[in-house]
Symmetry: C2
Subunit: 342 residues, 2 copies
Amino acid sequence: MKIAVDAMGGDFAPEQIVFGAVRAARKYECEIVLVGDEEKIRAVLKHEKDWEQLGITIHHASEVIGMDEHPADAVRTKKDSSVVVATRLVKEGECDAVLSAGSTGAAVTAAQLILKRIRGVGRPAIATPLPTLHGVTLLLDSGANVDSRPEHLVQSGVMGSIYAEYVYGKKSPKVGLLNIGEEETKGNEQAKETYQLLKKLHFINFVGNAEGRDIPKGHIDVVICDGFVGNVVLKFAEGLAKTILKLIKEAIKDGGLLAKCGAFLLMPTLKKLGKRLDASEYGGAPLLGVNGCCIISHGSSNAKAICSAIGVANEYVKGNVLAHIRDTLAKEEIGSHDSEKK
Amino acid sequence: MKIAVDAMGGDFAPEQIVFGAVRAARKYECEIVLVGDEEKIRAVLKHEKDWEQLGITIHHASEVIGMDEHPADAVRTKKDSSVVVATRLVKEGECDAVLSAGSTGAAVTAAQLILKRIRGVGRPAIATPLPTLHGVTLLLDSGANVDSRPEHLVQSGVMGSIYAEYVYGKKSPKVGLLNIGEEETKGNEQAKETYQLLKKLHFINFVGNAEGRDIPKGHIDVVICDGFVGNVVLKFAEGLAKTILKLIKEAIKDGGLLAKCGAFLLMPTLKKLGKRLDASEYGGAPLLGVNGCCIISHGSSNAKAICSAIGVANEYVKGNVLAHIRDTLAKEEIGSHDSEKK
């Protein structure tokens, strides 16, 4: 197994990306190709003496796509950018997966243009694992596409179900449609139409509508929505978790000696809990629906998050997710009519 | 000031509704009309000996609209239901505001059919106050309408801004559009069109796009979105807060004696923080855009939440919110073309 890592993408690139890759090379049985400015990558790698024995190589790429560039334009013009070159390594069979913590739009566009969509998929979707009261819930699409049509949401449901089965080992994963009420007549036009389409599919375990409050409860394995809603929810969760933490810290600070003693005694417990909820433990979100494994990491990923994301790539490849999605979409009649377009 | 309270709506009706009304009658300078099954209301009121001296009266209504009934059908057929009768009291000038913790759909429909929309408003919107790091942020629409058009979102922005100014006393409130990125080219078609319309309005302080993570930070006073997204976010916040609390409790339980001592010492601090974040402290969300003050409360409202919601009704009426919205929409060219329909 060989994984192409965009060493230049992310708020803390290349340092944290390279250190994360080294950590993953020690932890998982896989080779890693660091793609980007060779000189800068070497400058980080010199802190890790044994890197060459770990199966790490460097693939030079002279350009970088910035967070503020227009994704489609940048991917088309910057042919030698790290994310484009890394994605091409998968297309050419050199690598089994690509990982980027850079511009999500650029990584998604590169995957769509270079790897192309799987036959039968109208819109690829980002499947983000969210920690919940009971294990992990997969939320998709969490931002690859806005303005999705009902059949795209159905395809997301199928792909998410396959991913949850072959990567998390869940038998007959529960798939829910994110909506504003439980009844099938609830919601906007998109949700109502999607519900009717999902009801007809007998090869996934569609359990009906899921409300916002159902996501953190964790009793639904796969929650589907369009990328606009998914992205808002994901960023809201991030902001809310940070705000609650900040408020607790402020309250302890203002709470005097007793509160400080209490906080000290509670610290190990809260740290353990924090680890369980820490996004960097989950690290990466697969882009489902393209012909290859593409993992999207958060822009603020540190070495630990990158290492986890490489773990996700490993599981995706070992679970044969791509083949399962292809087979299912070829066999079942849920294909999108525009799936032949780029 | 006289407020009509739907005594039969809500998970804990009529008990908690009636107790909340009594509490509010003691706290605020207002009379309260409890609308619903007279016998049942009296049975609760007998625990409060001085209720007649508090300016509380009962207005009998023989029917109740259940949570699972179709709102429009139920409002049309159950003419003597508590929420319909309470809303009619406002229409007839008997009361200044109506409050319900029953079916949100029924309360919204009753307000639209009986009070009618303000001229220039295409869709009324529920404005929910959310506690944040810095005071309260108003999220609207949080569930009155799905499938809104850009001009409806613009109207929400204007109404939210007026509410934040005259109820929270914020000068030139910051209005943000909920979206998936900061740049004006980001988002789905609805968000992009809304952005362009908002940019042209010079009488509100539109500060651009707000991402999900901006809501809990509290640096934007009014966040606008369609009712589908708003409702998902609101219920997600509710679920996430409950889940985090549950996880902390579990962790403390599993954390042994030291953790328990720590939790004990921290308790007063956490309780104070909990109060700050407690939705029942905020209580009610106004439905903006109808010709009258209509306050929507959460189905699970307890007496404290109902009392707070009556406080919200008070502030709405004292702030002359309705007149300000009417004047602004009459003066400025943002009216909806379908505003003349019911």
